[in-house]
């Protein structure tokens, strides 16, 4: 209904501007998985439309601009079930969309990128934070809107160092993604002069995330698990698998803050972020989706807005021309983070500030004051040009 109304307004404007031709049609695909992952905290359980809801808002925003420029954007949504072929779904979308926003696992991103390479479809990775997609496994047809794990870790690490909390107790989960997170936290410690005083692994032995008398047990387990640690300032939890991190705050043996996968968390977006005009997009998002905006929503919004921005600047519907503009030095996008976001030309990663959230409020935004860089202070976050392993082809 809303889309109909917007269409009607668009028509009215077009008529007054005496544009005879129909609007420039831009199709954007969205490819993600059906179903949601289990989280320890009930309030953090993602909505069924996590991510896609952000893309939908960006389409509305693009069309509000488009009605003045005779451009029209549509979103094709595809959700694959576990075991279904991502390449097949992406190829189907590429039939009519020049751009596809991906919320897929890293290996799926690579398969889709390679399958669509010769077709000229431009892919936007909104879901995966894996550094390797921007490094040894980088692809010339994939723009990365999601921050990398190393950017997130550096954003957090800069703040902890600024706060003079330099002694870290690192607790990592036993799954692959947890280990990758622990890896980048170690890298951050080395870069910014923090010290990991000890490392522990929290083995996932299975078991339910929700039980009727869970608290009693957890309250006994967590202090025991964290006791006899060397003196430390902050406990860093690397638990992307949602096995233990949320159990740690207020339950550590020593009274210490928790950061990483619980406590103070680095993220690209938070439902509480209201600086730099962000309150406006937060309000628009809540109005459209009746819930708060997540990091994945913002990453998808930013991807679709990058396309909209390039279309309005080039007045072109040609994916090749639009992609060339996005990769050009004049491209930037505004995303309510206090400064313009640009692409790292060596691996097509979007530079962006990292928010630090405690789940209720935004505590700080990195890069922190004093972390300097000769090109962009945003390049103090993550893998920088001299260290990159990426060769775009």
């Amino acid at each position: 209904m809303i889309r109909c109304l917007i269409g009607a307004i668009g028509l009215g404007v077009v008529a007054t501007q005496a544009l005879a031709a129909g609007p420039l049609e831009i199709g954007i695909g969205y490819l993600g998985h059906a179903g949601v992952k289990e989280t320890l905290s009930l309030v953090e359980q993602p909505a069924g439309n996590d991510g896609i809801a952000g893309a939908r808002l960006a389409i509305e925003d693009n069309n509000t601009t488009g009605k003045f420029l005779n451009q029209h954007f549509t979103l094709d949504e595809t959700r694959i079930k576990d075991g279904e072929e991502a390449v097949k779904a992406a190829t189907a979308l590429a039939e009519h969309d020049g751009f596809i926003i991906l919320d897929l696992a890293p290996d799926e991103v690579l398969k889709v990128a390679d399958a669509l390479r010769d077709r000229g479809t431009v892919l936007f990775n909104a879901g995966s934070t894996d550094d390797r997609l921007r490094e040894e496994d980088c692809r010339a047809n994939v723009v990365h809107v999601a921050p990398t794990r190393s950017m997130l870790a550096d954003g957090l690490g800069q703040y902890l160092v600024w706060k003079q909390w330099r002694r870290w107790l690192l607790v990592a989960g036993s799954h692959d993604n947890d280990k990758l997170y622990a890896d980048v936290l170690r890298r951050t410690a080395t870069r910014f002069g923090a010290k990991i005083v000890q490392e522990r692994t929290f083995e996932d032995t299975g078991g339910a995330r929700r039980t009727d008398s869970g608290v009693t047990l957890i309250q006994r387990q967590m202090p025991v698990f964290t006791q006899q640690a060397p003196a430390y300032d902050v406990l860093l939890a690397a638990d992307e698998s949602e096995v233990f991190a949320s159990y740690l705050p207020y339950r550590t043996w020593d009274p210490r803050p928790v950061a990483g996968s619980a406590g103070l968390m680095p993220t690209s977006w938070d439902g509480a972020h209201d600086q730099w005009g962000a309150i406006q997009i937060q309000n628009r998002f809540v109005k459209l989706n009746s819930r708060r905006m997540t990091a994945l929503d913002m990453q998808a919004w930013t991807a679709a807005r990058m396309i909209g921005e390039a279309v309005s600047r080039t007045n072109s519907g040609d994916a090749k021309a639009i992609f060339a503009f996005i990769k050009g030095k004049d491209f930037s996008v505004a995303a309510f983070k206090g400064q313009r976001l640009t692409l790292r030309d060596w691996n097509l990663q979007l530079r962006q500030p990292i928010l630090l959230s405690d789940g209720r409020m935004v505590v700080s935004v990195s890069p922190q004051e004093g972390f300097l860089h000769q090109v962009s202070e945003l390049d103090t976050l993550g893998v920088d040009r001299p260290e990159t392993k990426c060769k775009l082809q």
């Binding site: 925003d61 601009t65 003045f68 406006q280 309000n283 309005s312 930037s332 206090g338 313009r340 962009s376």
Partner: protein, 321 residues
């Protein structure tokens, strides 16, 4: 004898009429207050409690009221400048931010950030005359010197909309750089200047042809380009000099309005946003959000004279006519 008499008379006249006896009102976005400043003594004389999140602020043309947009209360409050009391409200749309009025002071145009509209208000009757649909997040508002065109900039659409004030319809749109915040005409109507906060530029637009004819760019040695975020613009009456507030660059740029080149950067307080000239154009006041003060600039000398502490997060400033 005669001469001495004349001289003393002259002296008397001078002391009787101080050069700058105006009153400035500053909106403090976080403090929910408006600070009143005597521009003769450059001292705070009163602090007025207003609604939530006061931003856009302007005197009515007759000087009897100060209108202040209180975004989180979805209205514009009117302060009686004699009693310093809030005496009335104007029916804006949701989340009003910036507004502008026509030369006669009869019609007010308000940018409502939350629903992509401009609300048209009859100031005397305090009634809403209508709404105009614009782009995403309308902000900068300015009426052309001849009164025929209303400019509205929309921050996420990145456009200056040209609205015909008689039909209230969008007549033209001009794309500018990212996040356009403020629009200002030359007094002779020959150029429209639009600042782009995230783009870091000021676009100079030909208001007849609706095309960007030039851009003011800023380059401050030692400062990363992302920190240069132009917002407020002030143009002298002779259209020769413009002042541009550069946000977190903590500077006001002095721009030769003929060549569009920056001639000087004036260091002010932190995160400088909006500004207002005294009517005699001797002074320019600018609001420094993060340092909670306003800087006073000597316009002719192009020097910062002093700063005055105000409330929390000063946003806009208006000076009595």
């Amino acid at each position: 004898m005669w001469l001495r008499c004349l001289l003393s008379l002259g002296a008397l006249w001078l002391t009787a009429a101080p050069a700058s006896a105006y009153v400035a009102y500053v909106s403090n976005e976080k403090g929910n207050t408006v600070t009143v400043i005597d521009t003769d003594k450059w001292a705070v004389t009163a602090t007025i409690k207003v609604g939530q999140r006061p931003r856009g602020i302007e005197f009515t043309r007759d000087g009897k009221f100060v209108m202040v947009a209180v975004g989180d209360d979805d209205t514009i409050q009117m302060i009686d400048t004699k009693t310093l009391q809030i005496v009335d409200t104007l029916p804006s749309g949701p989340d009003p931010e910036l507004f502008t009025q026509d030369a006669a002071g009869k019609t007010l145009y308000v940018a409502n950030e939350n629903d992509n509209t401009v609300t048209v208000i009859d100031i005397a009757k305090r009634t809403r005359l209508g709404d105009i649909q614009v782009g995403v997040e309308p902000e900068g508002m300015m009426v052309s010197p001849d009164g025929k065109i209303l400019i509205c900039t929309s921050e996420t659409t990145n456009m200056a909309h040209f609205i015909d004030t008689s039909t209230r319809e969008v007549a033209a749109n001009v794309l500018v750089d990212s996040r356009p915040r403020f629009a200002e005409f030359k007094h002779d109507g020959s150029e429209l200047w639009v600042s782009s906060e995230i783009g870091g530029t000021v676009s100079i637009i030909d208001p007849v042809k609706h095309v960007v004819i030039g851009k003011v760019t800023f380059n401050i040695p030692g400062l990363r380009s992302e920190a240069i975020q132009p917002v407020g613009i002030g143009m002298t009456k002779d259209d020769k000099t413009a002042f541009v507030a550069l946000g977190p660059a903590n500077r006001v740029a002095v721009v030769d309005a003929t060549t569009h080149a920056v001639t000087k950067y004036l260091l002010v307080g932190q995160r400088v946003w909006h500004m207002a000239f005294t009517p005699d154009e001797k002074y320019l006041m600018v609001t420094n959000g993060v340092s909670n003060d306003v800087s006073v600039i000597d316009v002719a000398a192009q020097k910062v004279l002093k700063s005055i502490q105000v409330g929390e997060l000063p946003w806009g400033v208006t000076i009595s006519p």
